[in-house]
Symmetry: C2
Subunit: 323 residues, 2 copies
């Protein structure tokens, strides 16, 4: 029997991100279960092994390892952590529906902007916490996850504010070594992350994968990055979430100073995985269109990404599916 | 001894295009010599073999096969055909200087817009003919060229007009089965070709080579093509060479109806060859900047191409040079 004061947490979509943060919450004393469709057998047998220089290697054995949220037993969880990648064809509300009770706080740990409304509309009575992960973590084999760098979270309630339960979740993460920037305005925090993501991610997929060094390596390249970031700032401002435009220079200089690296979208592209084009870029483009902001560079990148996705789809159709 | 009425023609840069048109002019009765630095020995021994379903297979044995234009003997040629690809680092004037006499007509058979001024400035006294080739032809081995499709030329004098010598050249080509559209306004003809080239070529290099089917396969893709073509039309108009905007729809529909294919720039990219970014796209961008035309889509494509070229340069530096 678990202590009734122990928070019960269900991680939906325990890929690399879900396993990493689930392990942290378990280390902090929570009772953590996972839904992970494809790797259930491996995880039931061995748990997740998580390699992390920063947090130490560990094995994370979830309380329950489930194929579907509806199999969760013991009553609804206190927190449902949604860690599925938001790509076309994923119905996140359907994944959640069978496990969420009236007291469950839904926590989205996902990329992108304007990703909350769909969940808020499907679960209007539930507390909704929106979280951004600044982490480099990869699944390297079934049940095996490697943590490369970072790990911080930024979150708050959607559409705004910061409840006691959000703070409780922050305290749990902090006690496991995960720094949390709690914010009353998580939507602005999402736009701020989008400022980098919606620009560097799609560009990195062009011309056979460009790393940050290639992207900032010419005057024209840097100017395109800057112009596109200006457009993102204009869209964010038009939606009521203005960003400090000084961030543009800071992001560019910060990226230039770091060793050249490939974005998550470039890695997805190289590995034939679905790319988060729609939430990272498409949602920003749709917001720009809706708010009637001029976004020609964003539109160009978005159109190019749609072409690239079409080619990837054709390629996937003409080769065996990944195992 | 050659007949003094036989036109003497020197082809500078006898790659696939130069060999193909040189062979046609020889078949028409001209005395044709070539400068082809890397393949001199093979061509001296065996000539060029040219496979062409449309014009028939033939062996083209040039009158003189030279390493440099300065080695050309018998006095300056009547026509110097410049068929070198216009890529960064090519000094076309220097390649020509040692062979051009006061009566030599310089004929540029090259891609791009605004490529003539450099040659007009270097040879202000010479007649300058500017020609566009609509041809699909490739070098498949040293001295071996395959003609896949088309072959027509469009040309006229630069900056405008159509002289007797341009017409004489047209008659020679025509008698060898090469259709020539002679024009008093070749600059507008260049912008018209640029309307397709400056759009489909750079896009085709994005995301690991896109064919025309991928490019026009989504609504967003077609919209980007259309917007970028609108920008090219605006630049052409600003330079005094307005295009009929109905061409945009015609080009898109024509491309959609043809079987999906890869552009010349995509093929250059795949084969690690230099791409004609600067003459096909960069010159259009510079013209747009000079004329203060809004060209955000062209600018985005140009910046992406510069990034891709930077990556190709790095890649080329880290692998053995092609043999």
């Amino acid at each position: 029997m678990s202590d009734p004061s122990t928070p019960r947490i269900l991680v939906i979509g325990a890929g690399a991100i879900g396993a990493f943060y689930g392990a942290a919450l378990q280390a902090a004393g929570a009772e953590v279960s996972v839904v992970c469709r494809s790797e259930v057998d491996a995880v039931r047998e061995n748990g997740f092994s998580i390699e992390s220089k920063r947090l130490g290697d560990r094995v994370f054995r979830p309380a329950q390892v489930l194929r579907a949220a509806g199999d969760y037993s013991g009553g609804p969880p206190d927190y449902a952590l949604v860690c599925v990648k938001v790509v076309e064809g994923t119905d996140r509300a359907a994944l959640l529906r069978d496990a969420v009770g009236p007291q469950t706080a839904i926590v989205l740990i996902e990329n992108g902007v304007e990703i909350e409304d769909e969940i808020a509309a499907a679960f209007p009575q539930n507390e909704l916490i929106s979280a951004l992960a600044f982490v480099q973590v990869s699944r390297i084999a079934p049940g095996k996850v490697r943590h490369f760098a970072f790990g911080d979270l930024s979150f708050g309630n959607y559409p705004g504010g910061l409840t006691a339960r959000a703070k409780q979740l922050g305290a749990l993460f902090e006690s496991a070594g995960i720094k949390c920037a709690l914010t009353e305005d998580v939507v602005t925090a999402r736009w701020q992350k989008c400022l980098w993501n919606a620009v560097f991610n799609p560009i990195s997929v062009m011309g056979g994968v460009l790393d940050t060094g290639h992207i900032l390596g010419t005057a024209e390249g840097e100017a395109l990055v800057r112009r596109t970031m200006e457009e993102v700032c204009s869209v964010a401002a038009a939606t009521g979430h203005p960003l400090d435009r000084a961030l543009i220079g800071q992001f560019i200089e910060g990226t230039r100073k770091a060793p050249a690296y490939k974005t998550s979208m470039a890695l997805d592209y190289e590995n034939g995985r679905p790319m988060e084009t729609e939430v990272i870029l498409g949602n920003a483009v749709r917001a720009g269109r809706r708010e009637k902001v001029a976004i020609p560079s964003l539109e160009a990148l978005y159109a190019l990404m749609k072409m690239v996705e079409m080619r990837c789809m054709h390629d996937a159709g003409s080769r065996p599916a990944p195992g």
